[in-house]
Symmetry: C2
Subunit: 441 residues, 2 copies
């Protein structure tokens, strides 16, 4: 396994990934694993349009506004048509909130859904960051309340999906916005959102720059700013975190509540965690989006920690409330499928897949009866095989070469004096019996 | 089965369909059928980005240019950034052609692919027409040549997929651009593209208007224009069409070639055609896109012929050639999944699906051990069941009501003195045995 930076990928349209058939097969398999695992916990699939009204998307935090792609009809720009108010969604959380607000009368709560769709962000393409990418989101929302049982279930489900995808060792980091709230209360900082955004910059900006900003922009004393940085440097298991918070003297009811919820998450996933995964509490995890109010999650590749997070999410109380009069609190996680996939692709670590789904190629001979071949192909398909008919009747070596290039495992020769089947891997050719033949023979 | 106009559907964002979970389950099932049938003939799945360069998309015919959605970054409009040259694709044929041109050195020919993706057209939303919709495309392209065997295979595959989707009786109409070519040769019309576009308006414009346009715009004599309209009114089986072409005196090598190819298609699908489907040759079928050069296909609902076509495609010789120096002729068909789906949805004709995938809900009692319930749920999932754990422990009737609303078939009560399982449909409750229980018990 490589541990260095993945080799950069080049796509026809910069920032818009596109794969060869043999790689797409792997992506499809991953999407099927996500669907299977998520639905096995009772989460139902939905999709939302690729667009939302601009008013729905804008001002949700993390400076995404400037990355939003608006739609403008070609050749009619400036006409002020209604489409000017539509834009491609940049995540699946905001569209899901709008969906719940619009359809809540036809949904049953707690509503458990997953959603695997493309999203768009007009940022500069770079390692792990694309302008179009697929996210696999899983969320549960309640009507007015939602049990914190789901804080743990989220992590359990997402870990299981990633384990089945065999993407390598992953570090899961969790924190809780309530701890930040408690920090703010202890230091008399009212603007928790700005505090979260600033601490989210750790690793991107220097500690000195963040310290200066805490003092200048949030009005903290230098000592309080130092406490914030100490707080954000806390990481470890549950006992470590409790001890360190005591050392820096940050406590109170919000801290207690936040720690209690983290404890429940740790207990939930504790035993079932895959051996190659690690879970730690890391108080620098704040998540840039404003809407999180409780547990927050992030995940990274252990072998390449500088790579952007491959999984993220958290609990929100007010997200849907901005669209509906009722409150629909929830908790969710998003898997960055494209980000994970392109890393493995660039490292040549994707499992091998065939460039064609065909199991059996039926060769064509000059004397073949067209109708008989069609009927033979249909009969084999009816038994679950993927069967391709060679269209014309050139020399057999040409037909064999085609099968070999597409890695088709079997070639059937419909000789008039008895059909033969050739297993391409072994080269063994044997009489073909329509009733008894099965793949794997 | 209703035969009138479907009831119009209303969506949160006009022209952008969005479904409730129980309807999305049916759409997913249809997509799975398409994938299964298409791949069973050796077609491999690919996806392309949602965008192409504007230069790639523009000027392909059928007046789509003005319906193209270009991307413009919000708050940076007019900056002339590179994204200004990207637009959402309006079909999957043009992106596929660009894909083949870009990747042909890594593909094996004939290259058989299918592609189920969303496409976008900024037209006025109306019955069967949306701004965002899903198409399921199947195409095969050759390197320099492509056998006309595939003209028939296309129709066979698409018919099988639509039959399995159980969408009702369908009329398939085929024609051949070579017949139009022959008509043009017989009448001395050089601009076959304009002739095709005009005849494609039959049904949309009056015959008089088309006649006038043939004379005024294409310079035909009134008699020749009348022959064109007679030509375009020809429909029936192969023998009918041959006879009628003879009656109006249109013949020649292009007509012979076109008829020969249609004959092969009819023979190919002849016996295998589903009983509720009809196939006819209809010389008014011209397809608006410029790139077709041979057999063309369209399909419509028999019970509602005014509804826009639900399937369309044809053979092209030059499409990919506009991107690559080599020639990659091909043939393909597109299924208008959203158009079919929304019609059945609006008529209440979709098969019933559950709003949740859960097979077994494990109820929670105040005395339940959380870890034991998690382990029980995992064990059942390991046996292929979809299992949901109730998050908290309210009164059991509340938990049963939840299962009933979500149409979950089984509820498991983890009583300390022996687990019980209740089949919701029959109301029968019986002892639960972890080893022997299976769905369908």
């Amino acid at each position: 396994m490589t541990t260095g930076a993945p080799r950069p990928l080049k796509f026809s349209i910069s920032g818009f990934p596109e794969y060869l058939p043999e790689h797409r097969q792997v992506e499809q398999r991953w999407l099927a694993i996500v669907a299977e695992v998520f639905s096995s916990y009772g989460y139902v699939n939905i999709e939302t349009p690729s667009v939302e009204k601009v008013a729905t998307l804008a001002n949700k935090g993390e400076d995404v506004d400037k990355e939003i792609y608006a739609l403008a009809r070609l050749n009619t720009r400036g006409e002020g048509s209604s489409e000017a108010k539509l834009a491609l969604h940049y995540d699946l959380t905001v569209p899901f909130a709008r969906y719940v607000a619009d359809h809540h009368q036809n949904l049953s709560f707690p509503f458990k859904r997953y959603q695997s769709q493309r999203v768009w962000r007009g940022e500069r393409p770079q390692e792990g960051r694309y302008r179009e990418f697929t996210q696999c989101d899983i969320d549960v929302v309640g009507n007015e309340t939602i049990s914190d049982f789901y804080d743990g279930e989220m992590l359990e489900v997402v870990m299981l999906a990633l384990e089945r995808m065999e993407v390598g060792p992953i570090l899961f980091q969790i924190s809780n916005r309530k701890l930040l709230q408690g920090l703010g209360e202890a230091l008399d900082v009212a603007d928790i959102t700005s505090l979260a955004r600033l601490l989210d910059k750790i690793g991107k900006l220097t500690e000195d720059a963040i310290h200066a900003s805490l003092v200048a922009d949030l009005g903290l004393s230098p000592e309080a700013a130092t406490t914030c940085l100490k707080f954000a440097s806390i990481r470890g298991d549950y006992a470590d975190v409790v001890a360190r918070l005591g050392e820096i003297g940050v406590g109170g009811p919000s801290i207690e509540a936040g720690l209690g919820e983290l404890r429940r998450v740790v207990d939930h996933v504790g035993q079932a965690m895959p051996a190659s995964f690690k879970l730690e509490i890391d108080l620098s995890i704040a998540r840039g989006f404003d809407y999180y109010t409780g547990v927050v999650y992030e995940a990274r590749f252990i072998d390449y920690p500088k790579y952007p997070s491959i999984c993220a999410g958290g609990r929100y109380e007010n997200l849907v409330a901005s669209f509906a009069k009722k409150s629909f609190p929830g908790v969710g996680v998003s898997i960055g499928l494209t980000r994970i996939f392109t890393k493995l692709l660039s490292e040549g670590r994707l499992p091998e897949a065939r460039p064609s789904p065909t199991d059996v190629l039926i060769a064509r001979l000059p004397e073949s009866d067209a109708g008989a071949l069609l009927a033979l192909a249909s009969a084999l398909r009816g038994r679950g095989m993927k069967v391709e008919l060679f269209a014309e009747a050139p020399a057999l070596d040409k037909q064999l070469k085609y099968a070999s290039r597409k890695k088709i495992p079997y070639v059937l020769f419909p000789f008039a004096d008895g059909h033969q089947i050739k297993a391409m891997e072994t080269g063994v050719q044997s009489p073909f019996d329509r009733q008894s033949f099965s793949l794997g023979d």
